[in-house]
Amino acid sequence: MSQDNKKVTTETTGHVWDEDLQELNNPLPRWWIWGFYITFAFALIYWLFYPAWPIANTYTKGVPGLNNVTYVATKVDGTQETKTTHWNMRSKLMVEMNELHKEQKPYFDKVAGKSFEDVSKDAELMQFVNSAGKTLFSDNCAPCHQAGGQGKVKFAPNLTDDYWQYGGTYENIQTTIVGGRHGVMPAFKAILSDAELTEVSHYVLSLSGEPHNAAAAKLGDAIFHGDKAGCYACHGVEAKGNIAMGSANLTDKIWLWPDVLGAKTPEAKLGEVKTLIYGGMDKGVMPVWETRLKPEQIKLLTVYVHDSLGGGK
């Protein structure tokens, strides 16, 4: 502070350091400190109601009865039980979840009370199907079918395309979710020779216009329709598959088990098909959902898969 500026009128505490360094006194208003003491009282009240002090491996839970939270919990087997605990973040969350489920219920009821077609025609209800379906799908279906329902070659079918091994109507899709599926193709290594395997593979590739050897395919045609291999028994005489047993349509562009589209060269494509016929396939397993999801959830998922993922027929 310069020497000539002596007009400072602010009160000082009287403390002086280094000859002229003074401490100004701008006292807090007294009510301010009362506010501070009120926070002490607030803390005491808080301890009565909420978990507060950690003690060894437990903690104070507040006065019993003052802060009870009651909620309905759903157990793994689907049964519900009412629980009452002291206030904590989890019980509070459960209460909120209960409330949200209660809010959701009218919409689920609406879905349950309408036919599939009527649900899909109701733009407002479809909005609920889109959002609730996305959550249900992410929780239950996405591990195999992927988050967007795009599936994964050699693992789980794509639900966004227009091909359905077990049928793409609402009823077909519902049946699939309710009861699960188990797709099997026998191995032909003991039945067909290596040359025959190659020939029938050429024939399979020819069905959907993939690169193939026409002469070999002709021979393969005979094997496909012959009784030795009996491919037509499952895949049909026209090789268009059979939704009743889940046999694949070999004439379209969609491949699930042999990665024909992913293979770059004709040799690789042939190898993919041949390997599958050689060794068969026993991985097409979809679990049963009837025991894990409620009927209205399955119905909503059916509409979600059919219309929102968009592959339904």
């Binding site: 009128t9 505490t13 009287g14 403390h15 006194n25 006292p27 807090l28 208003p29 007294r30 009510w31 301010w32 400190i33 077609e117 899909s120 025609k121 733009a123 407002e124 479809m126 909005q127 889109n130 992927q146 988050a147 967007g148 329902g149 795009q150 794509n158 966004t160 395309d161 227009d162 091909y163 349509n249 379209d252 562009k253 969609i254 589209l261 219309d307 929102s308 968009g310 592959g311």
Partner: protein, 475 residues
Amino acid sequence: MPNNADKSLYQKHIPIVTRSVKGQFRTFKTAVMLLAYSVYFLLPWLPWQRVSAASQAILFDLTTRRFFIFDLIVYPQDIFWLAMLLFIAAALLFFVTGLVGRAWCGYFCFQTLWSDLFIQIEHLIQGERPARLRLKKQDWNLEKVFKISASHALMILVSLWTAITFACYFSYAPSFVTDFFSGTGTSGGYFAVLVLTVLTYMAGGVAREQICLYACPYARFQGVMYEADTLAVTYDIKRGEGLKGRTIPIQGLKTHEERVAAGHGDCIDCGFCVQVCPTGIDIRNGLQYQCISCGLCIDACDNIMDSVGYPRGLIRYDSERNMASETPHAPKVMWKRFKVIGYAGALLLMTSVLFYNIGTRSDTEVNVQQVRQPLFVLLSDGRVRNRYQIHIVNKTETEQTYQVTVKHIPKDALDMGNIPEITVRAGKALAVNAKINLSYELAEKTHEFEFEITQVSTGEKMELETSFNSPREHD
């Protein structure tokens, strides 16, 4: 420091008991107060013809997320208007403060208005300043109990009605008030009213200037907007103090001429400027952070100057520069300054942008979002499918139907599922699924296309450009 040992670190609150005053600033303050209270208390009761919500001119409907302001309906999508409004409010504050100081604080702030009203309630029941001071000092008797409790009861009543009015902006006023007093209101409504009543009473009836001194951030930062040319409530120290300082008008020092001759200033040290001050400061000590520039000390001083026959304006609105000048001119608003013009420009610009934006707002808001998981789907016949979600907000007051078509790609590429026409209720939004299927050859060539959404009733068309993905980009 033994002589300071008894000094408290905390300051006891000395209640400020103000004297009432008449004058131009008091009249202006009263006019502002009347206008502000008329608008605030009556506006929620103004009816307005409306289809999709309650018939109330101003209604901030939080449950349906729509703000009704006369014929304007504000949707959550319009949130940027709030940003503009806040900018305008800030620029206006900077602009006005740069010109004439803390005019907001002195005449318009809610804290000032409610404190002022509550002080007038005290004046009405307990009398003028000397009577109120006497009442404070006297022992508790029937008169004191009655006067104190009556004035506080009246303040609490006003606070209650302030709170109820506030809640009425968020709820249909007639039914809110009926429900409130019949005990059938919502718990949220009662809680809001309780909190607001307590806060209004505490802020206006008890804390008063303490809010301005210790709680208000605006009071603090307005100080930095003062410039040398800013008009502020100022005591003319040269004229008031003269050479020998202020003094009371004793014999021989009664007229202006006698005082000038004796070397005394015009200030007769009556103390009225201090007594009328709602923050309890002495303006003669210069510009202080406590001063809310309400101008009441100007009125008080002018009245005294009139009665002793000296010229008015010993305390007046004047600038720091003019005060210090050797040749002062009459106080006037100095607006030809870079800062002031800059704020005015910003204010004008943003106000016109806001009005333009509100004026040109469409009744329908549409946007499209591509489903990115997966980016595209190969269909069994070799076609490529992309999926989209189209989001439509109907901002009209009636139910509207919309049709979706496509441009730049074949019409039949669009598949809307089982929803060929989309009906959106008044004030609601809806998202629908859309699929686009293109042959492989066309898909390879198509990078972009447009959705065209037609509002059936008006034929208004809205175009949404979006992109199309196919294997080409990913191989």
